[in-house]
Every structure is written in structure tokens, then in C-alpha cells.
């Protein structure tokens, strides 16, 4: 019987097979195995712990509820990172759309009403970072990463934090291989410039 197996030593493919047979312990092991990498990727994308938790939860639910559709020729971790990246990018796009209202309500009829209904996006984002997040994201390299475009951020994270090959990143993010190489190249240069700038300060 499956529950007698030590699931921690099983490769992803075997774990997925057990999950496809309806073994709850296999589902739990998959979550446990990937919660940190998935959460970290999303957290570094959205810079908000609470939002990152919600998006990580959404990622796992999407993947695990469609585990029967998993194709073994695709790495499970790539599938997870693909969904994680998509939900993070969707969130960032929505947040960007929300900023349309930074100039205040279109129904405002006076300057005071405009002021009352508008808000400063940067201030909102910074204030959302509590002390712990500020500490976690406080290192120079973390701050430099936050300055990157989201697509550069996803590529550089997958390459250097998760140790993925260029081909895997291309498959994960649905990007041409050349584009991935370009993004990583530019990201490295931007990070170098940002870190040099900090050093000069």
C-alpha cells in the first residue's frame, strides 16, 4: 500500500503517479516539496507576503486539481513555475490596471474630490511591506532584483536561484530560447549596474 512508502525519497514522476491514484499523502508531499521555491518566486515577483501566499495557494490548487492532465515529458517543477509565473504576472498586470485610478475618480468634480479619491501607488506598495518583508528584501541584491522588469525577474530567478537551464526556462515561460538568453543577459547587466551604483553610494 502506498502510505507505507517513504514519499520524501520518491522522484516527482512517481509522486505524481500516486497523486493520480488519489493518494492524499502524495498531494501533501508535492506541496511540501515545492512550497518554498514556488512561494519565493512569487514573493520576489509581487513583493507582498500576503499576496504571495494567496498566489502560491492558487498555483498549487490549479496544478493539483489538474494532476490527471500532467504530461510526464514535462518536468513537474517546470509546470509549477509556469503557473506560478503566470499568476504573478496576472496579478502585476491587474495591479497596474488598478493604477489607472491613481489620478482619482473620473466622477470627481473638484480638486478636493480628486485628492480624496486618488492615491500614490509607490507609497501604497512600500507601506504594504511590513518590517519582516523589508528585512527579507532588504539586501542589496534583493533591492536590485525589484528594479528589474517582471519578465527579467522571472528569468533570472529561475536561472540563478532555481538553477534551471535556458531551455527549461524557455519551456516554462513559453518564450523563445533567444529571448530568454537576452532577458538574462540584460538582467545580469542591470543588476551589476544597480549593485555598482549602491557600492558607489
Amino acid at each position: 500500500m502506498a502510505p507505507l512508502l517513504d514519499l520524501r525519497n520518491l522522484p516527482d514522476a512517481d509522486l505524481v503517479s500516486l497523486a493520480q491514484e488519489g493518494r492524499e499523502t502524495a498531494y501533501r508531499e508535492l506541496v511540501q516539496r515545492y512550497e518554498r521555491p514556488v512561494f519565493s518566486l512569487i514573493f520576489r515577483m509581487v513583493r507582498d507576503r500576503e499576496v504571495a501566499e494567496d498566489l502560491a495557494q492558487e498555483t498549487f490548487i490549479k496544478v493539483l486539481n489538474h494532476i490527471d492532465k500532467y504530461r510526464p515529458e514535462f518536468k513537474l517543477s517546470s509546470w509549477l513555475f509556469k503557473i506560478a509565473n503566470n499568476v504573478a504576472i496576472d496579478f502585476l498586470r491587474k495591479r497596474q490596471l488598478d493604477t489607472i485610478s491613481i489620478d482619482g475618480s473620473p466622477h470627481a468634480r473638484s480638486a478636493a474630490e480628486v485628492d480624496a479619491t486618488s492615491f500614490d501607488v509607490v507609497a501604497r506598495q512600500e507601506s504594504a511591506l511590513d518590517e519582516m518583508e523589508a528585512k527579507e528584501l532588504g539586501t542589496a541584491i534583493e533591492r536590485a532584483i525589484q528594479q528589474l522588469r517582471p519578465e527579467y525577474r522571472a528569468c533570472i530567478m529561475l536561472r540563478h536561484v532555481e538553477g534551471r537551464s535556458y531551455e527549461e526556462i524557455a519551456a516554462t515561460l513559453d518564450l523563445p530560447l533567444g529571448t530568454v538568453k537576452t532577458y538574462i543577459h540584460r538582467a545580469r547587466h542591470q543588476l551589476r549596474d544597480a549593485l555598482e551604483g549602491l557600492r558607489d553610494d
Binding site: 488519489g22 512561494f39 498549487f60 555598482e196
Partner: protein, 196 residues
């Protein structure tokens, strides 16, 4: 020494630890060119810093929150297999007994089937004999019912006329049923109109 400095794409190749035909000259250049080496080292610092970034830890409730919304589906064949496995004895001796009994039964059934196939003529004879007995039983039963309902004479008439007789008898029965129903309905209507 190559007088050209390394292109940033070539430094990328070195940073990515690429090995191959074109990489050795790049390495040789790097060993001799202080400018390119400085550029490479700066880039290397960035990648090292990235590679040493830790994973963040989500709240301990993430797994529970995920599991509360995951629909776990157990395919029927897995459920069946589990049911069979759980129904089997847990001890080795018990399982041996179950599998042994099952094996003996399977062998016996197989031998019986082969024997029956081999003696197909006898089986067919027995089957036809049984069929005849059943037919006689049913016919006799029906005859008894008809005699007790319409009497010996009517039954003999119906039987002597074959299918035509059966058809006429059924038609007469249908007419009698319809007539009775019509009569009862007329009586009921008359009674209602009198009360009204």
C-alpha cells in the same frame, strides 16, 4: 594574445560554465587580459550573490489551505484494487490460504470446463432433455388453467382448432372484458346523474 576584448555574450558563456570547442580561447584570453577579467569577476559576483539567495518560507498553514481546496479523485480501478487488498487477510498464512483456495477453485473450474467442452454431445443431449421437460411443464400448467377457467369442452374446442381457436378464444375474452367495463361505466354514470 587576442587583441579583441571579450563580448558580453562571450562573458555570459563563461559565467554559465559552458564547455566546448569555442570556450577554451575565451578562457585563455581571460587569463591574460586584466580588463576582461575584471568585467568577468564583477559579473561573477552578481551571479554568486543570486545563487546564494535563500528560499523564503511561507506560513505553516499554506499546505492546509491548499489541501482544503484540492479535489482528490480516486479512479474506480484503484478503489477496487484497494478494496480487494483490504479484504485480504493481513497475515502471510491467511493470504496463502486465500490464494491457495482460490487457485484450487480456479483449477477445478478449468478442468470442469475442459471436460464439458470435450463431452459436448452429452451436454447438448442433457440440455435438450431439460428443455423438453420445461416445455411440457409450462404447457401442462397453461392447459390446467384454461380448463379450470372455461371448462373441459371449451378447452377441447380451442385445442382442436389450433391457433385459430386460440385467437377466437382471446377475441371473445377481450370482448367480454370490454363489455363488462362498458356496462360498469354506464351504471356508474347513471348513479351519479341520479344523485345529482
Amino acid at each position: 594574445m587576442d587583441h579583441r576584448h571579450l563580448l558580453s555574450e562571450e562573458i555570459d558563456l563563461l559565467l554559465d560554465g559552458e564547455e566546448g570547442f569555442g570556450v577554451n580561447p575565451l578562457k585563455a584570453h581571460l587569463a591574460q587580459c586584466a580588463g576582461c577579467r575584471a568585467e568577468y569577476e564583477t559579473q561573477r559576483e552578481v551571479t554568486t550573490a543570486l545563487e546564494s539567495l535563500p528560499h523564503f518560507v511561507p506560513s505553516p498553514w499554506l499546505a492546509e489551505r491548499v489541501m482544503s481546496q484540492v479535489q482528490i479523485f480516486e479512479p474506480w480501478h484503484v478503489a477496487l484494487r484497494d478494496r480487494i487488498v483490504s479484504a485480504l487477510p493481513r497475515t502471510r498464512a491467511g493470504r496463502t490460504l486465500v490464494f491457495g483456495t482460490g487457485g484450487v477453485m480456479a483449477v477445478t473450474m478449468s478442468v470442469l470446463t475442459v471436460w464439458l467442452a470435450h463431452r459436448a454431445d452429452a451436454v447438448l443431449f442433457l440440455a435438450s432433455l431439460l428443455g423438453q421437460r420445461m416445455r411440457d411443464l409450462v404447457t401442462g400448467g397453461v392447459h390446467d388453467v384454461v380448463v379450470s377457467t372455461v371448462g373441459q369442452g371449451a378447452a377441447a374446442t380451442v385445442a382442436s382448432n389450433g391457433l385459430l381457436g386460440v385467437g377466437m378464444a382471446l377475441s371473445a375474452l377481450a370482448l367480454a372484458v370490454l363489455g363488462t367495463a362498458f356496462g360498469l361505466n354506464s351504471l356508474a354514470t347513471a348513479a351519479r346523474s341520479r344523485r345529482g
